[in-house]
């Protein structure tokens, strides 16, 4: 049976849980809504993300269906129940496309541009008007002493590469990040490394991190281990299978890809991954779930993280962000309180 293509719009509180779907054979998580048939709404979508959610919803092509994780009554295995619901809804909407979820936003261009200008492209001259609906980027100094265009973007809160709920205002020149600011209180510590969390959650972090690195087969393996660890408290083969996954990861070139990326206090992203992997192995071996920050590499504040990744390429920046297991709910709560 062909897996149903799903895009997950996850709130910060349910984002890790949704990663477990990666291990399910009936569904396939897609990187953008344009590739998906079903939109899975997982967790709480805050009011500030409502418009972003509506836009993501409308970006799914018709026929489309929406499934809400929190409305599903599950037995022992909530991931199974969610996957079954997704398949059922996809089948129904495919059989009757008239039941496709209607659009939420108005079908309007951001600016009136059609027919304006000498070629009808929406502008005149080098910088005039809004060609194809959007203003041209303004110039700013770059790191080579040139004055070139500065692309301003707001990434998140539903970008698959970043943790759910994380919003970052980024200014890019080419692929280089010139400035970045996270939507949270500037000094809030927001990684989970400084506290103990269940091993299943750490494995779900690993699954997502491997997916971002392009190692999807390994990501599925990590998600399967996470589901096993969540189902059974005492699975004797789990530690052995995790050790096997870790051994195979050594042959992927991951170490060389993560080395020297995101250096802080002499520790790079590979060192942080190693700390996470050691913490998982220790938990599976029966030790108490210990903090990852035993080596002093974590926690980090939003402002420190922004400073670290300014000047990196976008790819290296995402790799660095993922290297920290960011606790977005804690970050958001702190932001609301301050």
């Amino acid at each position: 049976m062909t897996p149903v293509e799903v895009f997950v719009a996850a709130g910060a509180d349910r984002w890790h849980d949704a990663q477990a779907l990666r291990a399910h054979e009936l569904v396939r998580l897609m990187p953008t809504p344009r590739h998906a048939t079903v939109l899975l709404v997982a967790g709480t979508i805050p009011g500030s993300a409502r418009e972003a959610f509506d836009r993501v919803h409308d970006q799914l092509p018709h026929p489309r269906a929406v499934v809400t994780w929190d409305e599903i009554v599950a037995g022992n295995d909530v991931v199974d129940a969610v996957a079954s619901e997704i398949v059922g809804r996809a089948d129904r909407v495919m059989a009757d496309p008239s039941t496709s979820s209607p659009g939420r936003l108005a079908d309007e261009e951001p600016n009136d541009w059609r027919g304006v200008g000498p070629f009808g492209q929406g502008g005149e001259g080098m910088m005039g008007g809004t060609p194809y609906g959007r203003a041209m980027a303004m110039t700013a100094d770059d790191r080579d002493g040139l004055s070139l265009d500065r692309l301003e973007l707001r990434l998140g809160p539903f970008l698959g590469q970043l943790p759910g709920g994380l919003v970052a205002d980024v200014a890019l020149q080419g692929e280089v990040i010139q400035s970045i600011e996270f939507a949270c209180a500037g000094s809030a510590p927001f990684v989970t490394g400084d506290r103990a969390v269940p091993v299943a959650r750490r494995l779900l972090w690993l699954s997502h991190a491997l997916h971002v690195q392009g190692l999807d087969a390994f990501a599925v393996g990590a998600a399967r281990l996470a589901r096993r660890s969540a189902r059974l408290d005492d699975d004797p083969g789990l530690a052995r299978d995790f050790a096997s996954l870790r051994r195979r990861m050594r042959w992927t070139g991951l170490r060389s890809a993560l080395r020297s990326v995101g250096d802080r206090d002499g520790l790079d992203t590979w060192a942080r991954w190693s700390a996470h992997l050691d913490a998982i192995a220790a938990s599976l071996d029966g030790a108490d779930s210990r903090p990852v920050s035993a080596d002093g590499s974590m926690p980090i504040t939003a402002a420190e993280l922004a400073e670290m990744i300014t000047g990196l390429t976008l790819t290296d920046a995402v790799t660095t962000i993922i290297g920290f297991d960011i606790d977005v709910p804690a970050m958001t709560t702190t932001a609301v309180e301050t």
């Binding site: 959007r134 041209m136 770059d142 080579d144 070139l148 692309l151 990434l155 539903f158 970008l159 698959g160």
Partner: protein, 118 residues
């Protein structure tokens, strides 16, 4: 001759008809046309403030120039190979000098960090 031309015209007519039918179906008969929100680049739910058509520093540009330069140098070696048998050692020495000068150029480019991406 006429039958061949008729066949070509018939195939062209069929192709145009099928193409026109597909266009009509996609533009008019399909209720699910792309909407303005669907044409927005995917950024995780937000819209970009500016057009993606932006100018940035192509940092591999010097490397590209060096590559093109050496591609052109190779062109000089084809006529040299033609006369090599006739000229013998003289041609070998001359080409050796030429390649040595080019080699110095590569070393200079390397020292100037032309081959570094960052």
């Amino acid at each position: 001759m006429m039958s061949a031309l008729a066949a070509v015209l018939a195939v062209t007519a069929v192709a145009l008809t099928v193409q026109a039918a597909a266009l009509v179906r996609s533009e008019w008969a399909d209720p699910f046309v792309s909407t303005a929100p669907q044409r927005v680049p995917f950024l995780g739910g937000n819209e970009p403030a500016t057009h993606a058509w932006s100018r940035f520093h192509v940092r591999y540009y010097p490397m590209t120039l060096v590559f093109v330069a050496f591609e052109m140098e190779m062109m000089f070696m084809y006529p040299w190979a033609v006369v090599f048998i006739e000229e013998g050692a003289t041609a070998l020495v001359e080409m050796g000098m030429f390649l040595t000068i080019l080699g110095v150029g590569v070393v200079y480019a390397y020292k100037e960090r032309v081959f570094s991406w960052q």
